[in-house]
Symmetry: D2
Subunit: 363 residues, 4 copies
């Protein structure tokens, strides 16, 4: 159920409708749009009597939501969701302006699979910053298929990530895997990643739904589009509306790449949902030679950005080195997507002259 | 790395080897077998010098494990794992003997998808007990695709399950989804289920690996056999060796059933691992008319048992009613698998004359 | 559209309805059942006016067929299709009674992947005949993934197969791949196999639809159940109603077997269609250790029979030796399925005392 | 086995090597490259003695081919295959220059799913010609899942296609499904399409391998990359080296589009083979709103062109109207890919001022 307020409805009128919804024992989700505010109702066992709201001041119309998902739906919020990251000042005094995911500028999230050491992370971060990418990725908690593989540096890794934000002005996207790691990610990072293997870890989804940080939700390897949107709905139903989706390949018989990048999900998401959808060609393909073509393809298909792995010495990486771009390849890719972006009427940030140096030893 | 002790090795010799392993900073997993004890080593970054152990008393041979999984492997433990559930006495004084999963007798785990109420659960449990099944399933925490679907009765449901054990002598298998629910499942149940959607929730796997209860691990919908065995390895690497696997269907294009039951995984598991493997035809097919044929097929394929949904009034079930057998169908299925069991040289428990009545109102 | 005749309708009345259908420019398919005859209409562009037939003598009711397939549907023919192979006399004078596919007796089709030589084929055939199997398989035209793999002996192979029928009384099932090979298969064999890779070779399907021989149609690796039934519909729409279906595994990500045997298609076919459905565990799994478990499972799931590869010296086979049973394993499998057959209320033929000897040199 | 001739080897020397290969009973495939000629050998049962050729004049080196495919491999022919279509003159006297597939200019093949009538085909063809596309597609023989669906106009459709070539100067790509249709396609068209459902119809592949026309080979819905390349190898092993591959979506669980477009196969093909690879976003997605994004993505991923359906009145199409672009959308798409082509260092032909009119009635 969805209540669309009139264009001129006042904040008081919106609040009154929300109060009534809560008084009925349900949950109200006020979603301001460009023209008018919509209020989603969740927690109701079935369709409500529309007469409950029809006569309230400021109410435009009361509509039933026809999809199994509500808050992620374009029916509830026709304007694209733009996730905003506030401006910040680096340690050296540089002013880094606001960054967005879902806005006109495409978001580029780059960095190593895992944070392995301060030196490694800084070396990569400097190049990521120079490339023009505004977001830095790097795992401190790594969900690895084998219990005997490198599992990440945990809080030590998060501290390095926080330092990188302050040094290079990059926003930090990193994965949380349970309550404990989530509490720490919330302390050090800018955006919480939920990995593909946890896409239907509903306990975790509910918990990140109560976080103040935006959420980067990767599609599960066996998830249909409906499963994927309902996972986002779990987060949003708890009150966190800043969710970015990420396609990262599905499991199929096709064995020339690690997974099959399902790019046509990009227009399919945009047709149903206001949430931004990014693409991760590194995990999808697992092979360096396929990353640049698939990253270009993602932008051409209309994705709101990419997440891509980058490592200054991939042959020495502790995890997934074969799916990381070299720094020069990242620069080249950024050039390519800058040119493709104009075709899809988007922009990509220019390269940055980074004055900070990555040489951590001399600092 | 695996140390196979001599047939006559003493407990002290085994302990000495374990101590040496721990002193090296690794973890020792002593796995007694029919003939001799094997000691698995985990935590070592690469192959160890075999000379470290060759000369110790009681050591038979030091072998490298060639598979990516160790503790689940037949190389480490050639005898099948038998998970034992101690004998118990019901409230009315009946003596219920020990039950097993992985032994000669096939395990049958039956019950509703969700515990909906005490009346519902008792009505089903009486019929499950009469059928000869020794294990009762029923979800108190339900991982549902939509946040707006029934999520289970939580601790109230667990208390009903515990009552069912005491009334009918059925062992309780129920799902945990996070730390909080796991602590409660450990308090009330006999076996912890990890659901398909959490098969690669490694934080949860590690946590159940530290539990005293055996673990019922369902295969993820996109999990290869190696992924599946490595998920079990996560549990075992934390010291909990009582793991039963369960095939419950994979995601494919084939749309005549909810998922595709991948029965040939049964002989494939038995070829690689000592762990028991059961089959859940209810979730795999999602349709009542396919459950009995697929349950029979599972036993014929050599499965160590089945998990099957049963409901006394499936048309009223709050979740997945269309994939539950009627109680009479369960009786009929038990008859069928008793006959097929002889072909694969296994047994199935006889029907029970249950004197306890399910009518909870009159109790 | 389907015209169900009254129980007492005369042959003349049936013929009159068929004539009217043909006069309208459509095709009539008369399908006699246990109780009454149904007449399927194909070739009509849309629903016909039921008034065209309502008043004709002997017409019971005129019903719309609600599925995309017609002639394969239980709506058109509620009794199971039984494909009959006439009694025959061997060269040595043994009388071999009628054999069936789809009747109460389960059909077992066994033999090598390819006919490699007369010696090889006879050696295998003797053991197949002794096992009690009544059908012999063996490829003379092999659709191989690589153009450089052994492609079969062509007509020479078919001649060997025809000799085997006369020597051992086994019915011959063998694959045709185009018009030329089909003309020869019709000359020498008893049943035409259409392979998985040709399941949607519609030109071939139409051509076998005009054959007098029954058709053994294997499911394509990417075929949904609807695709599969529509492929059978292609054959039947040309007038050949003797079609047996065969599940042989689908392509999925699951890599512990060559393909994923989708056994739940067996009850799904029986719910929609009167056609028999068999299962080929050899091609599905590609590995000897999985064949017996999956063959047992197929029978337990309700399949109308199995097709299984058997070779007297699999290590020397020119194709697919690793998926062939040894002759002793075939005997053992036949014993197993005889016992499982009773559970599903079917029978399996007893072992045969074959007096013919396979030693071709001394003949 | 592959014989790489020296850069200065004469035609006579090449011929002498070929003669020797043929004399040995094998087949020689001479493949001239930019720098030097390579001669592939097929038909040999195993590795040949390299000494047979080492001493012959003009021989550079004799190398073993390490892949299961030979003639499609970059090892045999490191230069990309460019398929050339000769210049032609239209009925009205326009000179249409040579067209290519696999060259620097991207190939665009557009047209309706089926040829339905002369009016329909001409109306679409005029718009296709104006858009700048140089190839016209349209089925005269339609492999349809149901025998009751429109099956194409057969030779009548081919005649219309031949007229379109002469009127608009478009090259004709159309499907053959068996020997009879192939003979007619060879008579009227410029390129033979082998459809996805026939990708492993090896009899058809061998037959088109003996055609003088180039072949447009679509990937089967369950085909791995190796299967796909080996299907092309079937064609090439018969002597027809002009093969273009086409990705058109694979069967997966993902249900937001008809199939899953596996775009990462594009760089994977280019890494292994010299054959051009195009992409068909119409059949892959089955939905109009996904065609343009996926066509752009294909070009960005490095495809050598696209095949796209276009219909002047898709709501009236006899087949697959929902996956056809409107003519204005085709123009828009051509603009987009012209801009993306520059990023991947390719070109796309400019729009054409077509003086011929499509109004067939007034002609």
């Amino acid at each position: 159920m969805l209540i669309v307020m009139q264009a001129h409805a006042t904040e008081e009128q919106v609040a009154a409708v929300c109060s009534k919804i809560e008084a009925l024992g349900f949950r109200a989700h006020s979603m301001p749009g460009a023209g008018r505010t919509a209020i989603g109702i969740t927690g109701n066992p079935g369709a409500l009597d529309t007469g409950l709201f029809d006569e309230m001041k400021g109410v435009g119309e009361v509509v039933r939501v026809t999809k199994p998902f509500k808050l992620v739906s374009l029916e509830v919020k026709p304007d694209p969701t733009i996730i905003r990251f506030a401006a910040l000042k680096t340690d050296s005094g540089s002013n880094i302006p606001e960054a967005t995911i879902g806005g006109n500028e495409l978001a580029v999230i780059a960095g190593p699979c895992s944070i392995e050491s301060r030196d490694q992370a800084f070396a990569v971060a400097e190049r990521v910053a120079r490339s023009g990418a505004k977001f830095f990725r790097g795992g401190a908690y790594k969900p690895r298929t084998s219990p005997y593989s490198f599992q990440g540096l945990a809080e030590e890794g998060l501290k390095i990530l926080a330092e990188i934000r302050q040094r290079f002005g990059l926003r930090i996207v990193t994965e949380a895997v349970d309550d404990d790691s989530l509490a720490l990610v919330e302390k050090y990072a800018d955006m919480i990643q939920v990995g593909a293997r946890n896409m239907q870890n509903f306990a975790l989804l509910k918990r990140v739904g109560r976080s103040r940080l935006p959420v980067f939700l990767k599609r599960g390897m066996a998830a249909s589009l409906e499963d994927f949107l309902l996972a986002a709905e779990y987060v949003m139903s708890e009150g966190n509306y800043n969710v970015a989706l990420c396609e990262r390949g599905i499991r199929t018989f096709s064995d020339h790449a690690r997974n099959t990048l399902d790019l046509s999900v990009v227009p399919a998401v945009h047709r149903l949902s206001h949430l931004p959808i990014l693409v991760d060609p590194s995990h999808a393909t697992g092979q360096r030679f396929q990353i640049q073509p698939m990253a270009r393809a993602a932008i051409a298909a209309g994705a709101d950005g990419i997440m891509v792995e980058c490592h200054h010495a991939p042959e020495k990486a502790l995890s997934d080195g074969q799916q990381a771009l070299m720094p020069d390849q990242l620069d080249h890719l950024m050039d390519d997507i800058r040119r493709i972006a104009t075709v899809v009427e988007r922009t990509v940030a220019a390269p940055r002259a980074v004055t900070e140096v990555a040489n951590v030893a001399t600092r």
